[in-house]
């Protein structure tokens, strides 16, 4: 890799964010993570831990699942730190792995065990590692500049990723890490490494599959002519392989069943795919239309590859979040991008804070059992699982006489999407400005 490029920005650096304060705040951010890790988690944390434990016990490293990279990353950490759990069999063993998704009662059994805090802490170590690697990659991407501190501080303290990685407790930080590493590799002109990272992100989380075609369009655009055709073919082959694995055109094991004895299915059969085609305005399918625009621009534009890749990755996820249904922790996938753009423009801060607030209100308003409630604090006390959620309280407090719940939810959703779209515009403006600088 070549040396990190310097960045041209319209962003100023607050004198308050000195190197000393930056170091202190980074330490504080890590402390916040360490404090949260043992006490929160969604039921899916147990489901995932069961699978990791099963693979660990069975000595399986590749399975025909769409999240192999995530599984391997977690498995690596479990092999190192799993020994610190005195009775993992009691916590994680499950008789019927075809139905490994945990039931709430099974989760309560799990969290009622004295070692539940320890187990949750260990389960989340890979998420912490991926989170910190992403932070490092953002800092490198921004040339370790003073402006990079702003970006990194927002990354470390934004409530969306803290919720997703440590309170909801899902593995979202792993695909995000690979996504960020692919951007860093592209910036350092390591296109094959970037392809590998995109491939790993696709095989970490189903919906990252949309980065695959964008990457291919970027590689075969006029922006990538600096690379030899052999490099472009090789990079494309890597990503095509990852895509083929993701949609089960290629089997890693050659079996029609996964290790749990379940029929292998393509991610196209994943329930959430339907949502991508359910947002319709008139006769237009909004996500496919917006995504096609992203693909066309990625393929056609002559702008520098690094800048274009950053914006097109961001827009791919922005389209997904604007025009499909998703749960609260998914939003963590796209927090990288506003953080990076914050280093370029000061005026990204208010839209980013607005996004965080609207994300919070929107998810409070639509929450269901266990997704955005005190239910997630069941490891601390199971009593919290029985507390009413926000929509229940909204009705109990009689607020429906002012605005019915459905309208309130729609208003919240609209505010959230408006924040996303405004961020998108800000990113575009920044992109245009930087494109001008580059030319």
């Amino acid at each position: 890799m070549s040396a990190a490029p310097t960045i041209s920005t319209n962003s100023s650096v607050s004198p308050w964010v000195s190197s000393e304060n930056f170091y202190r705040l980074m330490l504080l951010a890590i402390i916040v993570r360490i404090v949260l890790m043992p006490f929160f988690g969604h039921v899916d944390v147990l489901s995932e831990a069961r699978r990791i434990y099963f693979w660990d016990q069975a000595g399986i490293y590749f399975d025909d699942i769409s999240r192999n990279a995530t599984a391997m990353f977690q498995l690596l950490f479990f092999k190192i730190f799993g020994g610190f759990i005195s009775d993992p069999e009691l916590l994680f063993a499950h008789a019927d792995m075809q139905h490994s998704t945990a039931h709430p009662n099974e989760y309560f059994e799990f969290v009622s065990q004295p070692e539940a805090f320890r187990a949750l802490f260990i389960i989340k170590l890979p998420f912490l590692a991926a989170d910190l690697i992403s932070a490092w990659a953002i800092y490198q991407y921004l040339g370790r500049s003073p402006q990079a501190r702003n970006a990194l501080l927002f990354w470390m303290f934004n409530p969306v990723t803290i919720f997703a990685f440590y309170i909801f407790g899902r593995f979202e930080s792993i695909p995000v890490m690979f996504c960020m590493l692919s951007l860093l590799a592209l910036q350092r002109r390591a296109i094959l490494l970037a392809a590998v990272m995109v491939g790993l992100s696709i095989n970490s989380r189903e919906m990252f599959i949309f980065l695959g075609p964008v990457f291919l369009a970027l590689v075969w655009s006029p922006s990538a002519t600096a690379y030899s055709w052999q490099q472009r073919v090789a990079a494309s082959a890597i990503v095509l392989f990852a895509l083929a694995v993701a949609v089960q055109m290629i089997s890693l094991t050659g079996s029609e069943m996964d290790a749990f004895g379940r029929q292998v299915t393509s991610i196209a059969a994943e329930g959430r795919v339907d949502y991508l085609f359910m947002f319709i305005v008139g006769a237009w399918l909004m996500f496919p239309m917006a995504y096609l625009c992203v693909l066309l621009y990625s393929w056609n534009s002559r702008v520098g590859l690094t800048e274009k890749a950053l914006l097109m990755y961001a827009y791919t996820l922005l389209c997904f979040f604007s025009f499909s249904s998703h749960t609260a922790h998914y939003t963590s996938w796209m927090m990288l991008f506003p953080c990076i753009y914050l280093a370029y423009r000061d005026d990204m801060l208010k839209p980013m804070l607005t996004l965080c607030v609207t994300w919070l209100i929107y998810n409070l308003s639509i929450t269901d059992l266990g997704v955005f409630t005190l239910w997630l604090a069941s490891p601390w006390s199971i009593s919290l699982s029985g507390l009413p959620n926000f929509p229940m309280l909204y009705q109990a407090l009689g607020l429906t006489q002012y605005l019915d719940l459905l309208t309130f939810q729609r208003v919240c959703r609209t505010l959230y999407v408006a924040s996303l779209l405004y961020l998108g515009v800000q990113m575009l403006l920044s992109y245009q400005a930087r494109k001008g600088c580059a030319q």
Binding site: S19, E20, R24, N105, Q113, R118, P388
Partner: protein
């Protein structure tokens, strides 16, 4: 019905650190009805096919008379994992429903020998918010105890007793060492939770429960605190270094 001083006193006692013991008790009348349960020759009840449960019917006890539940249980074989027991209650003319339901967890380590478990039912009536509705103030007509789902357990009920309020107060003051308080977890109604009388004790209890649970795995607690202290040490140390901007 608003919260009475008596019920508040009971709640306060529940959340206090209570030593000691003693009380009188009110026994449930008659034999419980069994559903999907089979009794073996030694008197142990086990699930048959689906999840089994037993129902104590025609209790006709006021809420004060049915303030606590004492279960004297013996497991035929220790459970491999914790067991979750659902508890439903109802007044005459009502059915069993999710709004009048709680669950308790019996840890596998407590299933190794015959144990007397004590469940404070008053707390359930209070936090579910049903006492605020006149329809829910009627006498307790029936109580249902569900066996843990999908578990191969056989349990002998040596005794099932309902405890009245004064008996429960005495017991909470002098809890016998051979008895275990089983914390019931119930769904709190949104209406009840908007009252500080319910929200504050509920949140306070949850806070205390977590602190207590932290002490159950002391090795982890020490390591976890050491990591945090180390990071705080680095943080404090940074303030002692000369500024370098």
């Amino acid at each position: 019905m608003s919260i009475t001083l008596r019920s508040l006193a009971l709640l306060c006692l529940l959340y206090a650190v209570c030593p000691a013991h003693a009380l009188t008790s009110v026994s449930a009348d008659g034999e419980p009805l069994l559903r999907n349960l089979e009794r073996d020759k030694d008197g142990f009840l086990a699930n048959v096919g689906s999840d089994g449960y037993l129902v104590l019917t025609e209790l006709n006890k006021s809420r004060d008379q049915a303030c606590g539940l004492l279960l004297d249980l013996e497991f035929k074989a220790p459970m491999a994992r914790p067991g979750i027991f659902d508890i439903f209650w109802r007044s005459a003319g009502q059915g069993f429903s999710e709004s009048r339901k709680a669950f308790v967890i019996i840890n596998q380590t407590l299933s190794t020998e015959r144990t007397r478990f004590f469940i404070p039912l008053c707390k359930l009536y209070q936090f579910s918010g049903n006492l605020n509705r006149p329809s829910e103030q009627g006498n307790l007509d029936a109580l249902r105890i569900d066996f843990p789902g999908n578990k191969d357990v056989a349990i002998k009920f040596h005794a099932i007793e309902l405890l009245d309020g004064s008996a429960m107060l005495q017991r909470l003051e002098t809890m016998p060492v051979d008895e275990r308080l089983l914390e019931p977890y119930e769904r709190v109604s949104a209406g009840a939770f908007t009252s500080l009388d319910v929200a504050v004790p509920k949140l306070y209890f949850a806070f205390k429960e977590g602190l207590h649970r932290l002490t159950l795995d002391r090795i982890f607690l020490v390591v976890w605190l050491l990591i945090i202290l180390l990071l705080f040490g680095l943080l404090l140390r940074s303030f002692r270094r000369p500024a370098n901007r």
